[in-house]
């Protein structure tokens, strides 16, 4: 069982290393994640929201709906823990 798991792990690692060829280099300012909507968030954060911290303004204003979903996830996890570990007295 452990040999089988080791073979699968080595195969997956080899496939992932084969896919590293298309990845951007380290610190490239023109790589794909930093191109389309991220410069707009960086440049307009002081004039649209009065917030110097870009991470908070993106998290709570531009992507506020995702943060609502995340708060629901952690609330549901807390409720699930409370329901699972209740002992009848």
């Amino acid at each position: 069982m452990k040999i089988f798991a080791l073979l699968i792990v080595l195969l997956t690692g080899g496939l992932l290393i084969y896919g590293v060829e298309d990845m951007p280099g380290w610190g490239d300012p023109n790589s794909r994640p930093s191109l389309h909507v991220s410069p707009r968030y960086i440049e307009k954060t002081m004039e649209e929201t009065d917030t110097p911290d870009m991470v908070t303004s993106v998290l709570a204003d531009y992507r506020g709906y995702d943060t609502l979903g995340e708060t629901t996830v952690i609330f549901t996890a807390g409720v699930a823990c409370l329901l699972l570990l209740r002992r009848d007295p």
Binding site: G13, E21, P33, E43, T45, M54, V55, T76, A80, L84
Partner: protein, 120 residues
């Protein structure tokens, strides 16, 4: 092709960490060790994602007076997405620990083969 792989050696580190977590999830028999393997896997994914936003010569994504161009700041978008991922990781670990407590109370062991044997 080989010198592409040698110059992008940071991806090797992420792949090694991911594979360590993956082997722990599949190859170990104790349920608690599988849970720790899942945690290692999630940490490796978070590390990989944040590293795609680094820019050469960029600083912290907090607005400063002298720098107005977009190339002066590190990309804030992966940081935001990974905040959600960290919260999801914590929630999953919490619920999984609660389920492990219930399994231990019912079967008196946390080894996978003994649990499967006492189910059949």
């Amino acid at each position: 092709m080989v010198d592409y792989l040698i110059s992008k050696y940071n991806y090797w580190i992420y792949i090694v960490l991911m594979m360590v977590g993956f082997y722990a999830m599949m190859g170990k028999r104790n349920l608690m060790k599988k849970l720790i393997g899942m945690n290692i896997f999630q940490t490796a994914i978070i590390l990989f994602f944040i590293s795609t936003g680094v820019k050469k010569g960029g600083t912290l994504p907090v607005f400063m007076e002298g720098a107005t161009r977009a190339a002066d700041y590190v990309n804030p978008l992966p940081h935001v997405l990974m905040l959600t991922a960290i919260v999801v990781c914590v929630s999953t670990t919490g619920v999984a620990l609660a389920v492990l407590l219930l399994i231990y109370r019912r079967y008196k062991t946390l080894e996978e083969n003994e649990i499967l044997k006492s189910i059949r």
